[in-house]
Each structure stands twice: as structure tokens, then as C-alpha cells.
């Protein structure tokens, strides 16, 4: 069984899984508690426009994805301030608009687009050493920002109006939050692909939320759950020869469903005890 570890692509994949889980644990927790899942989904899908542009210009599609999701994040920040009413539908516009631009770019690019599926659905088994180093550096930036600004980010996430009344630069902090989400998305595209990014960001964090009493605890639980799911997922995808990104997500979903089941069972048992007490 262990001989597969000798293949460097496999250890690379496992390492990439761990790095991705740390990103997801931290940024995913913010996304879940701030109810920014659809916002992040919009930014992630809009990045497809950049992938298409990358093909068309002949540059690295991931660079294009970074630019497009950055622009999408800026638009989102602006909408958050000035268009609270139609916010939800405007996110849909960004979401679909980015995808459409990507499709058109790919259509007008001569020849066919290699690895298009890798960008859409990810393939963690193709992660190279260079890419791992870039991932690690970006992750380091994310962790540094979150550690230094933890209390400030907590303040604006928890109670926007109050932190504004205390003179916190909440707009700057919100934009920073969006930038962190963009970095997370770009890191994760290689792992699970544009379409499944949002699942990896939200599912382990949602599982962790059920057990955590504070935000940093939630992050730690989410990281551990993520590492478990990605390791099991990579292993299963290798074993059964099925796509790695989707397998990781499915494992995360199973864990999430089990946690819900466990929570409701605990709740039911508690109710039974209360009923028994009341009867006697």
C-alpha cells in the first residue's frame, strides 16, 4: 500500500491537499460565518473569464483567473456598499458574466484549449513542485494577515455596525477579506477546479461550525476535517481511478452529513431524557 508514496506526484498531491485544507479552514470559516458563500461562488466562477483570457492571450490561465476574480471581488465590495437591495441578483450577474466571457474567449482562441477540464474540475495529481512552493508562499501571506489582524477581522465579521461605530476601518477590512478570498480561490483552482471551489471552502467549515464555540476553534476544526477529507479523497481517487477534486468534495459531504446526523441524534437523545424527566 505504502509504495505509492514513492511516486512524487502522489506525495505532491497529499501535500497540496494539506495546504488547501489550511486555506479552506481559515478562509472558509470567515466565508461561512459572514454568510459570503454565494459571494465567493460568484467570484470563483467569474475567474473562468480570466482562464479564457489567459488562453486567448497565451499567458498562464491561472494569472488570468487571478485578475478576473480580483476584479469581481472589487465589484462585489462596491456592491456591498452601494447596492445592498439587489445584492443577491447582482452576484448572479457577476457569476454568469464571468463564465460567459470565458466561454467566448475560448471559442475565439484558435486551436483547442489544453487542460480546460483541469481548470473546471481540478486535478490534484497534476500539482508540480513549483506550484506547491507558490501555494505555500500564498498560504504564508494569508496566515500572516489573519494572525496579525485576527481581532479586527473578528470585529467586522461579527458586528459591522458596532465596529464602524468604534472607528474601525471596516471598508478596508472588508476589501482585505475579499482579497483573502481571491487568494484562496486561486490556490484552490488546481485542486478542485473553479466549479467545486466553493464546496471545498464551505463544507469543512460548516461541519466545524457545529462543534466550535469560537472562530479560531472553528478554523482549527475545519483544517483538521479538511486534511482528513483531502487525504481520504486523494487515496480513493487513486484507488478507483476517479477524479480527485470531486472525490474530495464527496468525502467532505459524507463527513458533513454524518456530523448533522450525529448532532440530531444527540439532540433527540437529549429530548428523550427531558421527556422522561417530565413524565416522572
Amino acid at each position: 500500500m505504502l509504495e505509492i508514496l514513492e511516486y512524487s506526484f502522489f506525495t505532491n498531491a497529499l501535500l497540496a491537499g494539506v495546504l488547501a485544507s489550511v486555506v479552506c479552514g481559515i478562509i472558509g470559516s470567515y466565508i461561512v460565518v459572514r454568510q459570503m458563500v454565494s459571494v465567493s461562488g460568484g467570484i470563483a466562477h467569474a475567474s473562468f473569464g480570466g482562464v479564457g483570457m489567459g488562453y486567448w492571450l497565451g499567458i498562464d490561465p491561472l494569472l488570468g483567473a487571478f485578475c478576473f476574480s480580483g476584479i469581481a471581488a472589487l465589484c462585489t465590495g462596491w456592491l456591498m456598499m452601494y447596492a445592498r437591495q439587489q445584492f443577491d441578483s447582482l452576484i448572479g450577474v457577476i457569476w454568469a458574466g464571468g463564465m460567459a466571457i470565458g466561454v467566448v474567449f475560448i471559442a475565439i482562441t484558435p486551436g483547442f484549449a489544453p487542460d480546460l477540464f483541469t481548470y473546471l474540475f481540478g486535478n490534484i495529481l497534476l500539482v508540480t513542485r513549483t506550484y506547491l512552493i507558490i501555494m505555500g508562499l500564498l498560504l504564508f501571506v494569508v496566515i500572516a494577515i489573519v494572525v496579525v489582524l485576527y481581532h479586527r477581522l473578528l470585529a467586522v465579521s461579527f458586528d459591522q455596525e458596532y465596529s464602524q461605530s468604534q472607528g474601525l476601518a471596516f471598508m478596508a477590512l472588508n476589501l482585505l477579506m475579499l482579497l483573502l478570498i481571491v487568494i484562496a480561490i486561486v490556490i484552490l483552482i488546481r485542486v478542485v477546479g473553479i466549479i467545486l471551489v466553493i464546496a471545498l471552502l464551505s463544507i469543512p467549515a460548516s461541519t466545524a461550525r457545529q462543534y466550535a464555540g469560537s472562530l479560531h476553534q472553528m478554523m482549527i476544526y475545519a483544517i483538521l476535517i479538511g486534511i482528513f477529507c483531502s487525504t481520504v479523497g486523494i487515496w480513493l481517487s487513486y484507488l478507483w481511478n476517479i477524479p480527485s477534486g470531486a472525490t474530495i468534495i464527496l468525502v467532505a459531504l459524507v463527513v458533513y452529513l454524518l456530523s448533522i446526523l450525529q448532532k440530531t441524534l444527540v439532540l433527540r437523545r437529549y429530548r428523550d431524557i427531558m421527556r422522561y424527566r417530565n413524565d416522572s
Binding site: H151, L154, F158, D159, Q166, G167, L168, G213
Partner: protein
């Protein structure tokens, strides 16, 4: 006796803590505050009463600099409200956060120290811990310190929010119906603990609870788009009728619960 503004040109030793001049605010063409002249001095306990939709919360938000006035001037500690935010404690009328947020009571109270943090890299220190501890003791929530707020009752949550405001050791407290969800004991403890900071802290209180007004405040005004002020802590029937726009029954505390009705003459009202 009721006037629509504070006496103009009164001689002052010190700058007022809050001063608004002809403050007007409107939302999408709908006038909410009209030419409000409010003057709160150091050490005042200033209560504002008024009907729903009268503009009380709007006034507080303008004083905090959360919304910008359509016209008129606001000065807090003689400065622009945005420059003195760390000296203001704020208890909002509605809990402006989600209950399900994973955060512990202690962490919420610590957020009250946030406004005092200078620079990006400053962290909470011993002084912050002391203030947080004191604020929690005052609101009797020390035993809840490590509980997640999603597990608290409504009143316990509200006491946490009040403790958050106290933790900042503010010079000015803006309280927007702070004790609506709070039981009588906690309410009394809250107000009497505030009495202890009376020398250092000025309070602007919005309330529908007239018994609180009678027991603690030094000045009172009614707000219904316009501000109707009065020098003393007496509520008169005229004031109430003017600001609510209709006769209102008020049941206040005292040895015998009594009512103030619009038809009462001035003398009777003063005897209350």
C-alpha cells in the same frame, strides 16, 4: 416652559459633550429629523423619549457618525464625531449581529476595547483584560465568560452587549433602549452601576421606560422629528402630547402608580 431648542447664547464654562445645530436628516426625501438642536453637557444623564419612528435611533447614529446629516452641524467633545469614536460607548437598539456566530462572551466584551487600539499591530494588553473583567463583573456575566453567545438567553445577550460598551471605559455612553430585554434586577444593577461612573461619564439614553427616566436622569427631551427640550427632569403632559401628537397614558413608578394624562394641568403634573 417647553421650547424647541436650548437657550441660545447661554454662557458655558466647558464645551458641551454633544452639540447639534439645526441637524436635519432625511431618508429618500422623507424627513426624519428636522432642525434638531441638542445640547448635552458633561455629567448629564439625558433621556430622550418619543414615539416609534420619531427619529431617536437616527439621532444616535448621526451622533456616532454612522449616517451623515443632510444639513446642520454635529460636534462631539467639540470635534467631528468620527474623530472621537473611541471615547463613545454604544449600545444599539437591535442586536446587529447573528446569534449563531461562533464567539464567546469574553471575546464579545473584548471587542469593546477595539476602538482604543492604536496602530495595526497592537494587541490586547493587561489594561484591556482588567477593563473587560470589570465590565463583565458589573453586568454579572462573569460566569458566562466562556459560553458561546448562541447559547445565551436574550437578556444575557443584552447584558453582554452592555458590558461591551462599558469595557471601552467611554466618556460618553449612547444607550438606545438598553434594557428592553433585561430583567428588573439587572436593569437596576445596570443603572446603579452607571451612577458610580457619573463623574466621568455622560449618558444619552433613549427609552420608553418612564420609571427609569424618573429614577436616574437629569434632563429629558421628547423627539418626534423635532426635539422638544425641557430644563429639568420633569415630564410634562404638554411635552408628551406635543411629541407623541396625542394623549398618552404614562404609568410611572413611585409609591402609588399614577398616570399623567393630557388633560392634567401643569400643577398636577408637577406633584407627581
Amino acid at each position: 416652559m417647553t421650547r424647541t431648542s436650548d437657550e441660545p447664547g447661554a454662557i458655558t464654562i466647558e464645551d458641551p459633550v454633544i452639540l447639534t445645530e439645526n441637524l436635519s436628516v432625511s431618508y429618500e426625501g422623507h424627513q426624519v429629523l428636522e432642525k434638531v438642536n441638542l445640547c448635552v453637557r458633561k455629567g448629564d444623564w439625558y433621556a430622550i423619549i418619543g414615539p416609534n419612528g420619531g427619529g431617536k435611533t437616527t439621532l444616535i447614529k448621526a451622533i456616532l457618525g454612522l449616517i451623515s446629516p443632510g444639513s446642520g452641524k454635529i460636534r462631539v467633545f467639540g470635534q467631528d464625531p468620527k474623530d472621537v469614536r473611541e471615547r463613545i460607548g454604544y449600545v444599539p437598539q437591535y442586536q446587529t449581529f447573528q446569534y449563531a456566530f461562533p464567539i464567546r462572551v469574553r471575546e464579545v466584551v473584548f471587542l469593546g476595547r477595539m476602538g482604543r487600539m492604536k496602530g495595526l499591530f497592537q494587541r490586547y494588553g493587561a489594561e484591556d483584560s482588567r477593563a473587560v473583567h470589570e465590565a463583565m463583573a458589573r453586568m454579572r456575566i462573569e460566569h458566562l465568560a466562556d459560553r458561546s453567545i448562541s447559547t445565551l438567553s436574550g437578556g444575557e445577550r443584552q447584558r453582554t452587549i452592555i458590558a461591551r460598551a462599558l469595557a471601552g471605559e467611554p466618556d460618553l455612553l449612547l444607550l438606545d433602549e438598553p434594557t428592553v430585554y433585561v430583567d428588573d434586577l439587572s436593569r437596576d444593577i445596570f443603572f446603579s452601576s452607571l451612577t458610580r461612573v457619573r463623574e466621568t461619564c455622560t449618558v444619552l439614553l433613549i427609552t420608553h421606560d418612564i420609571s427609569v427616566v424618573h429614577a436616574h436622569v437629569t434632563k429629558i427631551a421628547c423627539l418626534n422629528t423635532r426635539l422638544f427640550t425641557h430644563d429639568s427632569d420633569q415630564i410634562t403632559d404638554e411635552m408628551v402630547a406635543q411629541s407623541y401628537g396625542c394623549p398618552v397614558d404614562l404609568i410611572t413608578h413611585g409609591d402609588i402608580p399614577h398616570r399623567v394624562l393630557e388633560r392634567h394641568n401643569r400643577k398636577e403634573a408637577d406633584e407627581c
